[in-house]
Subunit: 226 residues, 2 copies
């Protein structure tokens, strides 16, 4: 049995973690079935098997793997068809892209999405979310959240991807692979929280909607916050 431990809001159907979305897209890419184990932030007990406390955690038979990029590497080792990261320098470059785009795309999205996250998480998670994020950010949520500044920074961060996707179907070329899912997970985060802070009918938007349509064709409509 394959199980994905993933983050949910007070509504267990509302899955919004960008890292968990990466893994869902990767499992679809590999054609691997799984059962979802939605957890709220503070429901840490089921993660003990992974030796740490953060989702996503993939339990695949006897194997337990955490961290989205490590899960991609595990899936490539265990199910080599349809590589996600691939081998050698291809894998190295996917990891480097993740590091570079994570900073430039994730931080602006966080400025936009913080209030929405607070709106969807369980009452039991509110204090945990605030204290863990304020510690990581070094400031209060209210001082950090700034949807308008976030949208401006996001627009700039997406410019090279917009230029790329105007000429290429996917980030990884003619077919989607690891780089696509590592970045798209961040956009699914926004989408599931009920917003689309990138331009309608931009190349980025058309790329995102190709991945979304493929996902929904297999798994049904993605639950979004109102």
């Amino acid at each position: 049995m394959r199980e994905l431990y993933e983050l949910c809001g007070s509504d267990p159907q509302l899955l919004f973690s960008p890292y968990c979305w990466r893994v869902r897209l990767a499992l679809q890419h590999k054609g691997l079935d799984f059962e979802s184990r939605p957890l709220i932030f503070t429901d840490k007990a089921p993660l003990a098997c992974s030796g740490q406390t953060l989702v996503p955690v993939l339990r695949d038979g006897e194997q337990v793997v955490h961290d989205s990029v490590a899960i991609f590497a595990y899936l490539d080792r265990t199910y080599p068809a349809n590589p996600l990261l691939g081998d050698g320098v291809a894998a190295t470059r996917a990891r480097l892209l993740e590091k570079v785009l994570f900073q430039s795309v994730r931080m602006p999205l966080l400025k936009i999405l913080l209030p929405r996250v607070q709106g969807v998480i369980a009452a039991a998670d509110q204090a945990y979310f605030r204290s863990s994020r304020e510690k990581a950010l070094g400031m209060s949520l209210e001082a950090f959240a700034d949807p308008q500044a976030g949208e401006e920074a996001l627009r700039k961060a997406l410019q090279p991807l917009e230029a790329w996707l105007a000429e290429s179907t996917y980030l990884d070329g003619e077919s989607s692979a690891g780089s696509d899912y590592l970045v798209a997970g961040l956009l699914f985060w926004a989408w599931c929280l009920g917003t689309q802070p990138w331009a309608d009918d931009s190349a980025v938007d058309r790329w995102f909607r190709r991945l979304l349509a493929r996902y929904e064709a297999q798994y049904g409509p993605v639950q979004r916050a109102l």
Copy 2:
């Protein structure tokens, strides 16, 4: 005979184009000898063979190739040992990294380096440089140049590379390859213009100096502006 048409200042020994530096590093990587053909900006006639007007241009026997990334691809096709971009998704990801890092690293460097470029180019190039750059930037050189803002933006843009290089010898892993030279060319640009707008003894600095030392061990000291 292999010839590299590349940009020089009023001193023909002062080579400072980031794109030409990429190609020098790539030719060294491939172990290919070449003769330098330094040109000032307005000396366009020798480039006519390439059907366009910008350096770098590589003439390799009968073949003439322009554009640094296209030259990398040409070198891989023609001299497959020691890949620069490599094949398939590895090459795709190197091109995507170039697009992403070009925006985030090059623009801050340009804000820092503009006055230095004006200080080293030939008198005959001054009007061309001003009009071509002001057209591309949509503003006067004086309005765009801002070394202090550039250093702050560069520091931020280098953060993911600093984190990466703290754990990896090169951008492309254990050995340097195309991604390293595509980014390092931008730092050679600053270096040759007489400045080092990244932190001394940072992981980025140690990486740059490894590439510089390897280059100088083969070709001798790099000429820098005073």
